[in-house]
């Protein structure tokens, strides 16, 4: 019975420091997750993503705003509604796993059912099913302290789903695992959540994790939701310079808009060269802009004739085995370019021709960040 989650104008203000300063950890955030959908909140630490999740769980009390789950109001400080976590029927997977070390795997998973007074028979059945789902059935009677980190995280997942919660909340569940395990569990997580059909809100600072797991990604910064969209939109049409930078577009080229045609425009670079880029809404002719570009979208071997061709000087080359990173001097600035494959085709201190695909260059007002 997974439900829709609606977060409306959520605000959480902390008072910190001396003299006391009010700081909004979450600043007017609104979004809706459809039943069965996975939404990932992505952002750097301190952006308010975890606070948002904890408000949904009822562990944190927002200053204002409303949280509606399955059509029922659970949080509305103005109306004096603050349902405690235990009555929300949500599942949550914590960053530290939070599996109880004094219990076995089975006892951990059965705990929420006991709290609900489920009959022994129904409980055993539900626990077995949950353990099957995370492939830990053969570990049921082991103390959790004998498990590896990844197995503990799967116990936590089974525990959070065994009582068929309305919504599953996941707070950086993979950040304590080593890199290889993280990759495996990342794929497992999405498969398991989708098989059960749960609505899920997932918090992470890892963009790769967000892209693989989320049906939609919400990029947050300083308590504000900067963009909430599908992964392809986030990657190919970032709403602002921050979203572009956070999703990996680390190259920034400055310039000024000469002419605008539709959603594209010709931008004059400081060297006098012209670059065609996609213009965000509200970027006008004559305005100073910053152009964001992913290193992997720099075309190092353009074929035939076309626009946005630039002569670049290979300043340095960092061979990384399966890929090569080049630092290029181009149009008066330095950008990074990525070549995939074990073959590095360019030498240091040579001049090459590169193409910057106009559809993948995004220009934003220079005053934004």
């Amino acid at each position: 019975m997974s439900s829709e989650l609606r977060v409306e104008q959520l605000r959480k203000v902390f008072t910190t420091g001396r003299p006391p300063v009010q700081k909004a950890a979450v600043d007017d955030v609104s979004f809706t997750i459809a039943a069965g959908e996975i939404v990932v909140l992505l952002g750097p630490s301190g952006c308010g993503k975890t606070t948002t999740l904890r408000c949904v769980a009822g562990l944190e009390h927002p200053t204002s705003g409303r949280i509606v789950i399955g059509g029922t109001m659970y949080t509305d400080p103005q109306a004096g509604v603050l349902v405690p976590p235990r009555s929300r029927n949500l599942g949550m997977v914590f960053q530290s796993y939070a599996v109880w070390p004094h219990m076995t795997v089975r006892q951990n998973v059965a705990y929420p059912l006991k709290a609900r007074g489920t009959t022994r028979e129904a409980m055993n059945k539900a626990v077995e099913e949950a353990l099957d789902l995370v492939e830990l059935r053969s570990y049921a009677d082991r103390p959790v302290t004998q498990l590896s980190g990844g197995q503990m995280q799967r116990v936590a997942l089974a525990r959070s789903m065994v009582y068929q919660p309305q919504i599953l909340l996941l707070d950086e569940p993979l950040s304590n695992l080593d890199a290889q395990l993280r990759l495996r569990l990342r794929d497992d997580l999405r498969r398991i959540i989708k098989r059960v059909g749960l609505t899920a809100l997932y918090v992470t600072h890892d963009q790769a994790e967000a892209v693989v797991l989320g049906d939609r990604i919400g990029v947050m910064r300083d308590g504000k939701m900067r963009q909430l969209d599908t992964p392809t939109e986030i990657y190919n049409r970032p709403a602002d310079l921050f979203v572009a930078g956070f999703s990996g577009a680390s190259n920034v080229i400055e310039g000024r808009v000469a002419t605008r045609r539709g959603d594209q425009g010709a931008i004059t670079l400081p060297t006098g060269e012209t670059l065609v880029a996609r213009l965000g809404a509200g970027v006008n002719e004559g305005e100073a802009v910053k152009i964001a570009l992913r290193p992997d979208n720099v075309d190092l071997a353009p074929v035939g004739e076309g626009g946005n061709r630039f002569k670049a000087h290979v300043r340095s080359r960092h061979y990384q085995g399966s890929q090569t990173v080049y630092e290029l001097d181009l149009a008066g600035t330095t950008i990074e370019a990525l070549e995939v494959g074990s073959n590095a085709s360019h030498q240091e201190a040579t001049d090459i021709m590169v193409a910057l695909p106009p559809d993948l260059c995004w220009a934003y007002p220079a005053s934004s960040d």
Binding site: V81, P85, S87, A98, W100, A115, R159, L228
Partner: protein, 591 residues
């Protein structure tokens, strides 16, 4: 971004409200309950003590009278030359004792941490043993060894024809016994600082051209100075509140310290309760100032570079000199552990303490269980042991529950007023046990049908006295539990009490059990506060021992001392086994 727009458009209309009552008054009620309990345990008795110090009426005869409340009454007492001399004696005895303790403790720390003296580990643990000996037992043992006429040392000297005599019934005697028994306090602080110091700081000094002694004087000691000062002040504070040692060693020479003077005032006929309260307040003020200084010393140690990193401390190669340091360490342990224990054994098992010559010391026909038999023939002996156990259990249960409630409230909840609760809880740090005894006496003696004369007044006084340490110990073990372990249980559908029962308590159990056992141990060895609160029906072990000593029967006194030491040793070993060292730290902080 259109998701936002739709969600806003949909807002409200078809939303029903979850019907959950929120008990917003509950945290306030809980905070109020805790504050009332703490006021009853700590604030009320302290206030009554102050009132006692500021009035002249005898509470037993007149009840509590506030009519002549005046600072003049307190000042009259403070100006009394007897009070001044007791204060001066206290400062001399404890000051001298502290200096000796710092000398021994610091040398011991250096030998154990920074040299290659053999058997360092063994020496270090043996050096901690004096901490567990109740001060009264230490006093009794040294009275047996060093009383001017019948002391074993003096008898042996006389038999061997040596002109050398010792007299521990003196200021020097008290300084000596204080110094050797409280050296471990200084040792613990300084050894930790020496161990945690980055050795490269000293290496840098030596590379810059400083000699080893110069390095020690200009780098090592300045860096651990906050630890030295902190250990110094702590041992001073504990000594100030000790009753057993000055009672045994000072009283025969008519040297009164503040503690013995306070007790003497209440033992006079008629008892001088107001004067006793005034002197107790003076003792409390002195202790309070020292506690404040100690807290400052601890907080000011940021520059000691005590990083979280573990360093391998540099061990100085002493060459053949390492056997000298070993010898000195063994000498210390011999003087402070072996010699007093032997004295107690000899006194407890010999029919007569008179020893004609050296061979007579080993004449087995002179040894028997006679003192033990006499001791246990007195029904008061077993009764006092039983009473101590009973009070100990009351203290452990009440104190354990209260400390857990306070510790949980302070560290784990957002309860309003938890800062105030925290502050009230730490007040007893600055109140010596004896002063708590006087305060409780004042608080309850004039209330008919009240607590006075019951087991509960002893237990509650002990709970109040040891509250700061037990709350701190329990808070530490609670803070080690990750907050998310609790939150996970809430999200899974348990309420706060259910979570405490199924998650917090089971996980914190080692700490809670250790804390309660420690309370039990501290309660059964407590003398200072018991002195003022026992009645004929609630005589406890420590007071009974003092009774035997004052009755003049050294054999029975020594026998009972041994019984108590064995009892404590068993309990402490058990607690240590339970909690890996918690008992050690606990006894240290409270004396």
């Amino acid at each position: 971004m259109d998701a936002q727009a739709t969600s806003l458009a949909m807002g409200g209309a078809q939303t029903k409200q979850h019907t959950a009552r929120t008990y917003s008054w509950l945290p306030w009620a809980w905070a109020a309950l805790l504050i009332v309990v703490l006021a009853f345990l700590i604030i009320y008795p302290t206030t009554m003590l102050l009132i006692g110090a500021l009035t002249t009426g005898n509470p037993v005869v007149d009840g509590y009278q506030l009519s002549d409340l005046s600072i003049a009454n307190f000042l009259t007492v403070a100006a009394n030359p007897n009070v001044a001399s007791a204060l001066l004696n206290s400062l001399i005895a404890c000051g001298g004792g502290t200096l000796l303790a710092v000398f021994i403790g610091l040398s011991f720390a250096w030998v154990v941490v920074r040299t290659n003296t053999p058997w360092k580990g063994l020496i270090a643990s043996a050096g901690m043993l004096p901490l567990f000996v109740p001060p009264l037992v230490a006093g009794v043992a040294w009275a047996i060894l060093g009383s001017p006429k019948t002391g074993l040392i003096n008898l042996l000297m006389a038999k061997m024809g040596l002109p050398f005599r010792v007299d521990l019934y003196s200021m020097t005697g008290m300084i000596f016994v204080f110094g050797i028994y409280y050296a471990p306090y200084v040792y613990m602080f300084t050894a930790a600082a020496l161990r945690n110091m980055d050795p490269s700081l000293e290496e840098a000094a030596e590379i810059s051209g400083a000699s080893a002694t110069r390095t020690m004087a200009t780098v090592t000691f300045p860096l651990i100075m906050p630890a030295i000062i902190s250990g110094l002040l702590l041992s001073f504070i504990v000594m100030l509140g000790i009753y057993g040692i000055p009672a045994v060693l000072g009283s025969p020479a008519n040297i009164n310290l503040l503690t013995t003077y306070i007790f003497a005032l209440t033992a006079w006929s008629p008892p001088q309760y107001n004067t006793a309260a005034s002197v107790a307040v003076i003792l409390m003020i002195v202790t309070g100032v020292l506690v404040y200084l100690q807290q400052k010393a601890i907080s000011g140690r940021s520059y000691t570079t005590v990083a979280g990193k573990a360093f391998r401390p540099r061990a100085l190669n002493l060459g053949p000199w390492r056997f000298l340091t070993l010898g000195l360490a063994i000498l210390y342990i011999f003087i402070v552990v072996v010699l007093p224990t032997l004295a107690l054994i000899v006194a407890a098992f010999r029919k007569f303490l008179f020893i004609r010559d050296i061979p007579a010391l080993f004449d087995m026909s002179q040894y028997s269980w006679i003192h033990f038999n006499k001791m246990f023939d007195n029904p008061l002996t077993l009764q006092s042991i039983y009473n101590s156990m009973y009070v100990g259990i009351l203290t452990a249960i009440v104190g354990g529950i209260l400390s857990f409630a306070i510790g949980y409230t302070i560290t784990r909840t957002q309860t309003p007023g938890r800062r105030i609760i925290d502050v009230i809880t730490t007040i007893p740090v600055a109140i010596p046990g004896l002063v708590i005894g006087v305060a409780y006496l004042w608080a309850w003696i004039a209330l008919p049908g009240g607590l006075y004369g019951t087991f509960w007044i002893l237990a509650l006084a002990f709970v109040a006295r040891f509250l700061p340490d037990t709350v701190k110990a329990l808070s530490t073990s609670l803070m080690q539990l990750h907050k998310e372990l609790e939150e996970a249980a809430w999200v899974c559908g348990r309420g706060m009490l259910g979570t405490i029962g199924t998650i917090v308590l089971p996980l914190a159990r080692p700490g809670v059990v250790a804390g309660m056992t420690l309370l039990f141990i501290l309660a059964i060895r407590e003398l200072g506060s018991s002195l003022f609160l026992y009645s004929s029906g609630t005589m406890v072990m420590a007071v009974q021992l003092l009774g035997y000593y004052e009755g003049g029967n050294i054999g029975i006194t020594a026998a009972f001392s041994l019984v108590q030491m064995v009892l404590l040793a068993v309990l402490i070993t058990f607690t240590n086994w339970l909690s890996r060292g918690a008992a050690e730290g606990g006894v240290v902080k409270t004396g």
